[in-house]
Each structure stands twice: as structure tokens, then as C-alpha cells.
């Protein structure tokens, strides 16, 4: 075990951390928006819209993320009208392609989690809110959504961990985030185990922090479960 090499590789690996964090935060934030929209569409009651939303979820959950990333990065640029559109400055960049693919992927998974959580809100609570004179929108905003978000947190925590790991696939489309840097350094030095340990430790720390944050959110959102001081 070459400790010196491990220690020396740390600054270079941590240099990729900014990009990894950007990918995680960017795709999770955008993915949450997509998930919210798709979950609402799937519960809209309109047959056509529901089928379309279900098809989106089916496709993105049933195919490997790598296919999705390559489809966006290599596939979209094939079309003339996309190269001519105003989106091209973005879709030309591997960075935005990675964000787009990760967003669509996590959006599909998260929408299912959110849909399940919304459906699990007891019907009586909605009825009570309606009986108090709340409009449908108000009842959704004040009653259904807060309860559902609290309910979905444990499952969403798993999705966050999957996303932290999924950002490593961005290295396959030339982005030098932590895994990309680790791969390049392994190819240069052939110190496989040392560099694997350093890169793996970075991801473990990220995932540890992510689980702590989700636990903290759960704690904040369940004040009624805490013993009163």
C-alpha cells in the first residue's frame, strides 16, 4: 500500500468534487420539479395524460442510465433541427447533457415515490380540509403535500444515494468528476487499490452526509413525534 500516493492523489480527486456536487444538486433539484409535475399528471384523472406520464416512467426506469446518457449526448446531436435550435449551445456541452439525463432519470424514480406518498395520505384528512371550506388547491398545498413529503422522505433518501452514485456515469461522456479523475489516475499510475480507496472514500463520505441530511429533514418535519422538553 502506497500511502504517500494516496495522500498526494487526494487534492486532485477533490478537484473533481465541485463537478460531482454540481451534478448531484443540479439534477436532484431539477429532477424534483420533473417528479412533481409527472406525479400530478399521473394523478390527473385524464386517461391520455396519465398514459403518457406512465410511459415516461416506464421507459426511464426500465433502461440503464448509461443508455439514457448516451442517447442524450450522442443521439440528440444527430438531428439537424436540434443543432439549429436555441437549445444547441446547451446540448452541445457534456455537462448539460449529463444534467439532463440524470434529471430525467431521477424524475422518473422520484415521481413514483411521490405518487405513492400522495396516495397514502388518508382520505379523511382531505375530506376534513374540504369540509373546513378549503379549495382543492389549498387542501393539496396545505394538507396533502406536506403529509406526502414527510411520508416519502425515507424512500427519497435511497434515491438521493442512487443519484450520488449515478453522477459517476458522467465520466463516460468526458466529464472529469471524481470517478473520471480516478480512472485517469489509475491508468497513469496503475495504483488501482490506493486510488480506488481514495475515490470510494469520497463517495462514502458524500453518501454519509446525504443520509444525515435526510435524517435531519425527517426530524425537522416530525415535531409531533419528539418528546416535549
Amino acid at each position: 500500500m502506497n500511502w504517500q500516493l494516496m495522500w498526494d492523489s487526494l487534492p486532485r480527486m477533490l478537484g473533481g468534487l465541485t463537478l460531482t456536487l454540481q451534478l448531484i444538486v443540479g439534477s436532484l433539484a431539477l429532477g424534483a420539479l420533473v417528479a412533481f409535475g409527472v406525479a400530478l399528471l399521473r394523478l390527473s384523472g385524464n386517461r391520455v395524460v396519465e398514459t403518457l406520464a406512465a410511459a415516461y416512467v416506464f421507459v426511464f426506469r426500465g433502461t440503464p442510465l448509461l443508455v439514457q446518457i448516451f442517447l442524450v449526448y450522442y443521439g440528440l446531436g444527430q438531428f439537424e433541427f436540434i443543432r439549429d435550435s436555441i437549445l444547441w449551445p446547451f446540448l452541445r456541452e457534456p455537462y448539460w447533457c449529463a444534467i439532463l439525463a440524470l434529471t430525467l432519470n431521477t424524475g422518473a424514480y422520484t415521481s413514483e415515490v411521490l405518487r405513492g406518498a400522495i396516495l397514502s395520505v388518508p382520505q379523511g384528512q382531505v375530506e376534513a380540509a374540504r369540509a373546513c371550506g378549503m379549495s382543492r388547491a389549498l387542501a393539496f398545498r396545505r394538507i396533502v403535500l406536506p403529509v406526502a413529503i414527510r411520508q416519502m422522505l425515507p424512500a427519497y433518501g435511497n434515491e438521493v444515494i442512487l443519484m450520488v452514485k449515478a453522477t459517476s456515469l458522467a465520466s463516460t461522456i468526458t466529464l472529469m468528476e471524481v470517478t473520471g479523475i480516478a480512472r485517469r489516475m489509475i491508468a497513469q499510475t496503475f495504483a488501482v487499490f490506493e486510488l480506488f480507496i481514495v475515490a470510494g472514500a469520497i463517495y462514502l463520505v458524500l453518501n454519509f452526509i446525504a443520509t444525515r441530511l435526510i435524517k435531519f429533514a425527517e426530524w425537522r418535519l416530525t415535531p409531533y413525534l419528539r418528546a416535549r422538553a
Partner: protein
């Protein structure tokens, strides 16, 4: 354009089919290896030995907490070295080279095994302890209890969870394409580059993966129904 997907001399249909077969081969072998690892991991987690508990916990925490791609790189770049040193410990002094298929199966199998460990551990724990006691009271030996009482029921409880692990395993095989093994993703990549029709080929790959996941979901559902045929429904 669609003739690129045909089975003729100018089409990639045959190659894509071979790639799909390779993907299935890697996924099935890795899943089977994962169940083997998972059974060992689950028994380590449930054993009374503190050392085994710690080893199994470290294994599942690390493998489930780091990217799959890193595990594949670890075995791709380091697997042959480890195999060589293991072989030399047994007195063989040549170099052992693992082929891409073995590396893929080992890497994806180790990932799959970490998830299987948790599924199998949960399933074993949901077998009521009274049944084990009853079997002991009937005078069954440990092996007989394992074979007649524990394993059949664990299998039934583990099926839904193992179905999820299978889906993960199948999708993780796409990552093995970075080792240049000629599975579906790799063939697609080559075809997309050679024909300059990336969208066509990557969507074809997506459809093929969707077919695999859909068919296997149906198979797992049927397996669940047949495993539960002796169970009374509420």
C-alpha cells in the same frame, strides 16, 4: 435507415442480437453469483460471530455506497493482479489474466450480492422462529431444517426483493461495456460510431433493454404466484 437494423450483411441486427445474448449471459451469471454471495453475506450477518457481522456489514455498506462504475474499474484494472497473487499463493507462478466476461460477472455479481445480502437476511428473519423450534422438536438435524423449512420459505419471502435486485443487475451490466466486453451497450456504441446514426442505435438498445426488463418482470411475477400457491389469501 431501418435496414441498418436488419440481419443482412449491411445490417447490425445479428450483432445486436448477439450483444443482447451476451448481456443476458452476464446478467444471469452475475445474478447467480450475487445470490451465492448474498447467501453467504446473510448467514454472516445473522451469525453470532462479531467478526463475521462486521465483515458483512463493511461489505454491504461499501459496495452499496460507492458508484458501480468504480467497482468495475477496480476489477478491470486490478482483478488480474489479485488473481495472479492468489494463484501464486497456491504455487502457480505464471500470470493469470481474467477475461472481460469473468471481470464483468465478478464486478456486477459483487454489487448484486450486496443487495441480495439484505434481501435474503430480511427473508430469513421473516420465517417464524416457532417453525424452527417445531422442526427441532421433531428431531430434525440442522441441515434438514435448512433444507426442508428455512430455504423453501426464505425463497418465497425473498422473491419480490430478488426481483428488484435482478432489475438492478440487468441494468448494471450496461456499465461492463467500459471493459470492451461485446455486450449490448458496447455493440450499440460501435454501431452508432460506424454508421453515424447514434439516435437510432441507442433507442434500439433502450427498446431491447425495456424488452428484457418487461419479460423478466413478468417471469418474476409468475414465479411469485407459483411460490405462493400454497399460501392462503386474506
Amino acid at each position: 435507415m431501418l435496414e441498418l437494423l436488419s440481419f443482412g450483411p449491411n445490417g447490425w441486427g445479428g450483432q445486436l442480437l448477439m450483444g443482447t445474448a451476451m448481456t443476458v449471459a452476464v446478467a444471469v451469471s452475475a445474478f447467480a453469483f450475487g445470490i451465492l454471495v448474498g447467501s453467504l453475506g446473510a448467514s454472516a450477518k445473522l451469525s453470532h460471530s462479531l467478526a463475521l457481522n462486521v465483515v458483512a456489514d463493511v461489505y454491504t455498506t461499501i459496495v452499496r455506497g460507492i458508484p458501480e462504475l468504480l467497482v468495475i474499474y477496480l476489477l478491470f484494472f486490478g482483478g488480474s493482479g489479485v488473481a495472479t497473487s492468489i494463484a501464486s499463493a497456491f504455487g502457480y507462478d505464471g500470470r493469470v489474466d481474467l477475461n472481460a466476461f469473468t471481470i464483468g460477472v465478478l464486478a456486477v455479481g459483487l454489487i448484486s450480492g450486496a443487495y441480495s445480502t439484505e434481501v435474503i437476511r430480511g427473508a430469513v428473519q421473516s420465517v417464524p422462529f416457532g417453525q424452527i423450534e417445531a422442526a427441532r422438536a421433531c428431531g430434525m438435524s440442522r441441515w434438514l431444517i435448512l433444507r426442508r423449512v428455512l430455504v423453501p420459505q426464505t425463497l418465497r419471502f425473498a422473491l419480490p426483493g430478488l426481483g428488484n435486485v435482478w432489475q438492478l443487475t440487468l441494468k448494471d451490466t450496461a456499465l461492463v461495456s467500459v471493459t470492451a466486453l461485446a455486450e449490448l451497450m458496447r455493440i450499440t456504441h460501435l454501431a452508432a460510431g460506424a454508421t453515424r446514426q447514434p439516435f437510432l442505435f441507442y433507442s434500439t438498445a433502450a427498446v431491447l433493454y425495456l424488452m428484457l426488463t418487461t419479460i423478466s418482470t413478468a417471469l418474476f411475477n409468475r414465479a411469485e404466484i407459483s411460490a405462493n400457491r400454497g399460501v392462503r389469501r386474506a
